[in-house]
Subunit: 406 residues, 2 copies
């Protein structure tokens, strides 16, 4: 099995991090800004130095192609080089540069693959400049029409199409062309691998996500003149609903619930809350499990509301079904981890990634490595160089298993 | 006992309500606006027609004096004619016009009192144009220095002093002059009298009020990648604190708790809440009871925070001690109610009133009448004409008991 060069990969990560480097050790390369353009250029130079042919599609997705022995669809490895406004050094970047390290390693070993290999740097994965996130892979796979993608505007009103022209990032590589497979290595952005002392997460798919909006309507009243039994307090009702959520979630392994926003409309310190809204994010690997939890919560919410004399409305906001990755590609990742004799485990991806768009386009799998404290989207995001190396080893071997030796 | 003229009182209330009348049946007379000036002028005409001498002090408090047999400090009856931007017809207005009805009744009965009587229309009670509320009585009694009161500015930057000059409402009656006593009749602004089928509330004082700021600090994290047991969720912690408040309050009769504002800092639907603030308003007639509840809550909050791995800080924001009214004046009100053979009960005032400033200046008492559904600060505020009449009867007889017949 070919082994990657850990220090070389780390040096590339650190060199890329200097582009848009922030005072606190992170990186700031918002999509299609000058900093992002500089990151793209550096990656392009490295790719060409490795003998790859760099090309772009109409939304600026950047590809670097290594020819194979046969003219068949490529096995694609990649992620993204754009970052949050004050992001870390590894989220996305690892996936592109570990792919580069994989190619460099194959070059060193004079290995020609049957299928071509390509490295992909997807445009605007973070969603921090243009919404939504994963825009480039979305447009590539057809989830979003090209015209809509080009028309997305940033906070200053500059469109993605204009930004592409400014930095010269658009090209004529066809969208939605055939891929044989897609592999993405990424930091976990969660604490599981670190907590388990595991080096590699074999990602079997993405979990089901439901976003709900909950509105509790009580009755306003004077804080000083309304006896407690006469109140229909939307806030105390919502507190009980939140506790209901927490208890329901504890009944089911792997079910996640987050109430990230909560707002009392026309809230005032000495007025009983009458109109309160909160958001609910529910996730589980299995669609049926999360939907059953929602049914349960609706019933339990209704009982609380009835007892308290308030109204409670639960509206769906967004629904993303569970998405299992391709069993063969996941098997390649698992076999590569097993052969390397590292500590690995199967896991679900909690966050969104370009790989989820690609999974609807071609056989896809992902590899996770630990990040310190599960921290990401933060300048202090941190990984072990050793984990990056092991991850790149898994990536190159999984890709090789898929693409085949010539 | 002299009896007031219910229809005359009601006609006066309805005539005053036409000044600044709103489309939905309320009134809008923000302090020292043209509408308020017109209300003051109408009251002044009525007072002069009843033989009273109208005069003003330096913050525009309007007085109408009925001479007594002796040159002693007056017994003062009153409230305020200003309203919320879309206020009701009775909050404050009843207190001024029932006082006028009391004087009209004494006139009809040719009753001269030993002490002079005065009707007071306190400036800017609502706090809706200039903050704080009860500004006129505050400046009169010295709780707020005159210069500070005159410098208070509305949302457009117009000062109270300038507004006084514009509407010609300032005069040279001394501030802080001696009052023999102060009586204020007001709608309850709560549901207790109506629920109890009672016509008159004999107000024995104001309750202790504590405003607290609670801040819960957890740890941010990704809604999709952080296992539930690894979370330090500030929102779920706050929900348990809110339930803790509700349970603690239920242990003590008459203790009131309101969480009127709640805010997740940097809240996002798919991020675990890390920094949440909420307000807490606690009230009880007894200072010791409310302080003991706060001690309890601090201890219970700390236990919740410790168990959940979050921080919880409880900061005092404002403290208003319980304020018992003068026993003799309260006795006059109670005796008047008893003599009228109406349904009455002792009660505490939950809301703030000019009478609380006056209570620090002279012997003071208040009379409450029911309002429909406890509703106030609302165009739909509503009372029974019969209750207004009974309230005016209590007022005139309590005042007569205090001032004495010549």
């Amino acid at each position: 099995m070919p082994a990657t060069n850990g220090p070389r990969l780390w040096d590339s990560l650190m060199a890329m991090a200097e582009i848009g480097a922030t005072a606190n050790g992170g990186s700031s390369r918002l999509a299609l800004t000058e900093a992002d353009a500089a990151g793209r250029a550096l990656f392009g130079q490295w790719a060409e130095a490795a003998g790859l042919a760099v090309h772009h599609d109409a939304v600026g997705n950047q590809f670097a192609r290594r020819a194979g022995a046969e003219a068949v669809p490529p096995v694609v490895l990649g992620s993204h080089l754009d970052t949050q406004p004050r992001g870390g050094r590894f989220d996305g970047v690892l996936g592109v540069l570990a792919a580069l390290e994989a190619v460099r390693t194959l070059n060193e070993h004079d290995i020609t693959t049957r299928a071509p290999l390509e490295i992909a740097n997807w445009t605007n994965e973070e969603g921090a400049r243009f919404t939504p996130a994963m825009l480039g892979s979305s447009a590539f796979t057809g989830a979003m029409p090209l015209a809509e993608a080009l028309a997305r505007a940033d906070a200053e009103g500059v469109t993605l199409g204009d930004s592409l022209a400014t930095v010269g990032a658009a090209g004529d590589t066809p969208l939605a062309r055939d891929f044989d497979a897609f592999f993405e290595i990424h930091i976990e952005q969660g604490p599981v691998l670190e907590a388990n002392g595991v080096e590699i997460g074999v990602v079997t798919g993405g979990q089901a996500i439901r976003w709900l909006d909950v509105r509790v309507t009580g009755r306003a009243g004077h804080a000083g003149t309304t006896p407690m039994p006469a109140r229909r307090d939307a806030l105390f009702a919502a507190a009980e609903l939140a506790q209901t959520i927490e208890r329901r979630v504890a009944e089911t392994d792997g079910l996640l619930a987050t109430v990230g926003e909560c707002h009392v409309e026309h809230g005032s310190r000495n007025t009983i809350a009458a109109d309160l809204r909160f958001t609910l994010d529910l996730r589980h690997p299995d669609d049926a499990v999360v939907d059953a939890a929602i049914d349960d919560l609706r019933a339990r919410f209704a009982a609380v509301a009835e007892r308290r004399g308030v109204d409670c409305a639960v509206e769906p906001h967004w629904r993303s079904p569970a998405l299992p990755f391709d069993e063969t590609c996941v098997g390649h990742v698992r076999e590569a981890a097993r052969a390397l004799d590292c500590r690995w485990q199967d896991m679900i991806s909690g966050a969104g990634h370009d790989a989820f768009h690609l999974a609807r386009h071609c056989p896809t799998a992902m590899i996770f490595i630990p990040c310190a404290g599960g921290l990401s989207h933060h300048e202090a995001e941190s990984i072990e160089a050793e984990h990056a190396r092991i991850g790149a080893d898994v990536l190159v071997n999984a890709a090789l298993a898929r693409a085949g030796r010539a």
